[in-house]
Symmetry: C2
Subunit: 387 residues, 2 copies
């Protein structure tokens, strides 16, 4: 039985002894406690404190982005990045259907409409080829802006999401965006430490966003960041995520409707410590990938998703890809592995199938539909390699 074979291979990699192996858990073996304790000892846990500034500086340095703005979570980061990219009410924004619902929600918060586009197998991310073909049929460019001929709405941006840490084919995608005049905002929530031909994900579009939720490669408890090389946008991002208050020793003046999206210093302290360990964590995750790759090489029916050519993936979540003939087996495999104490999960339910987004515009999505039934995430914590 396929499911039993998978359980057996997973056990061979992960060891037999543990009662339960989570999908992904954080590892705190650096300066986490020192920095967090410093926050408590100085009482600088909230909006004032050095760790937020340092975390932003460290993030910019690590990713090579000129600017990083720390915020309260990845969803907030994407909402603000889209707003700064010029997304307005009733615009359409291209996003993959195969993503976490936060990608679509960020669009909705701006009263814009997600427009679902197709993914491709080699990256698990959006397909520039399918998108160009689709645009040739449904879009027109007028006065330097892209419009959906069917709905009449402006298409103002695209959000490539680097699925499970594997970079999207960005060069081709940027070319499509350039030809059709919409902005690129990368959802790099899952891809801290992933590179596309040497450039860190989230730094290739106009803006990019990160997440430091508890299930991510590094965590701040809850947190996110906006990346950009554009200084003006970075200044605006900081301003509107901190209630748009005009600096003054005591006066409260705010020039636009801002957001209370700053990251607390306490959470940033955790982030600074985690970021110091990131290279180590990434190395462990890469080693785990090779162990899985080797172990599953005996099975013709499944493969482990490998980083795309020219890219370096962070292997955030290791992913089994079932052969198309095994579509019907997915839920059996999920049941068997979870029953065996090895936490696994499928990709997300495609967003266009969910009630709040079932009415949105979309391409034909045969690849996404197929991937939905064939992807299974398996334990991916960076501490598994020391097991």
């Amino acid at each position: 039985m396929i499911k039993d074979e998978i359980v057996s291979i997973l056990k061979s990699v992960l060891g037999n002894g543990k009662e339960f192996i989570p999908l992904h858990e954080p590892v705190f073996n650096g300066n986490e406690w020192n920095y967090v304790k410093e926050c408590l000892d100085t009482t600088f846990v909230s909006s004032v404190g050095k760790f937020v500034d340092r975390f932003e500086k460290d993030l910019a340095e690590f990713t090579g982005a000129k600017h990083a703005v720390a915020v309260v979570n990845g969803t907030a980061a994407l909402q603000i990045a889209l707003k700064l990219a010029g997304v307005e009410e009733n615009d359409e924004v291209f996003i993959p259907s195969l993503t976490f619902i936060a990608t679509a929600n960020s669009v909705s918060y701006l009263k814009a409409h997600p427009h679902f586009i197709e993914n491709e197998e080699k990256t698990l991310g959006v397909s520039p080829t399918s998108l160009r073909e689709y645009l040739n049929s449904i879009a027109e460019v007028r006065s330097g802006q892209c419009f959906n001929k069917k709905t009449g709405n402006r298409i103002s941006a695209i959000v490539p999401m680097h699925t499970f840490g594997h970079p999207v084919a960005m060069d081709e995608l940027l070319a499509v965006a350039n030809d059709f005049h919409f902005k690129v905002v990368e959802d790099a929530a899952e891809s801290l430490g992933s590179y596309y031909f040497g450039k860190h994900t989230g730094t290739l579009g106009l803006l990019g966003t990160l997440s430091f939720n508890g299930n991510k490669t590094i965590t701040t408890g809850g947190g996110g960041a906006i990346l950009t090389n554009n200084k003006e946008l970075a200044i605006l991002a900081k301003h509107i995520t901190t209630t748009a208050k005009i600096p003054h020793p005591w006066e409260y003046t705010h020039d636009v409707i801002g957001y209370n999206y700053r990251l607390p210093n306490l959470n940033a302290a955790l982030g600074c410590a985690q970021l110091e360990k990131l290279p180590e964590l990434l190395e462990s995750k890469r080693k785990l990938f090779h162990l899985y790759e080797n172990a599953f090489s005996t099975m013709a029916e499944v493969k482990i998703q490998k980083e795309p050519n020219g890219c370096k993936s962070n292997y955030w979540l290791q992913t089994l890809v079932l052969k198309p003939s095994l579509v019907g087996e997915r839920d059996n495999i999920l049941s068997a592995t979870n029953s065996a104490g090895i936490m696994t999960r499928p990709a997300w339910t495609l967003l266009h199938k969910l009630k709040p987004y079932s009415h949105c515009s979309k391409m034909n999505l045969p690849v996404s539909e197929s991937l939905e039934m064939r992807l299974i995430n398996i334990p991916s914590s960076s501490n598994l390699i020391h097991a």
Copy 2:
């Protein structure tokens, strides 16, 4: 000179030795370390962990609310509370002009319009008497809903904000809301530990909200909570602040557009420890009020704001109220005190004077206009009493 006299009195209460006395700083002298360290040691810093549940239970117990839902900050709490109270796009929501901009922003996020109403001197909060008179002139009730006769918009809610911790005249306000058929959502961001005739602020309306920002009586770094006695609303609040995911061991199904507004476990841990010390903190703040009251009793030109009759205020921010004749002295007093290393600040710039809200509907606001120029917050930290 008035300003010199005030500096001198403040120094007599606060001591002469310190270089700088902040307006409000947190105090961590309980289990803060223990609980935060437990989060790090168990790696439960994010969405999973016992402290969020405990913090909600402890908040409900302390306030007497049947339900408390912890969220990422007070602004998010108010946005969701208003949404759950039924506020929809293009509705009008009554809020005081004398409040922090977050109160208005929460309304704006729902694409509803703030409608500014008058405050009164005795509570520093909204005036039920002025409001009733105003409603008799501009409002009409049709089919059990309230409408603004001038704009045609529905008026769906009012947000009384308990200024600096002093409770609004809630009985009179609830009567107006009842007569004119709109919902009451209390902004109790500043009033944890404040009671209106024995009932905790935030528990008298349909919903209420709290803030645990770093400058508040207790802090979680950044955090907030929604209070309600309505079980159905509490369940909905939890659901939509946690991405509206339907519980399942592995499937990702979301039934509405939710928000990523959960409070991380790390921040909740800090909150649990802080809440244990709250009674002590409140006692210290009350003692500080009495010291100030006594010290300023020699000055005829200023008084210290005292809790309204029948109420128990938390004295979050101690507040000097200048006599109307001293309106022109405010900025001189602010300069002199801040220059002397004693941090003070005025109330907020009235919201209807700020660019993003200058177009909104409003009552005549003579009391608010006068209070804006006569209120000065003075150092209020609960550790000042041990100085």
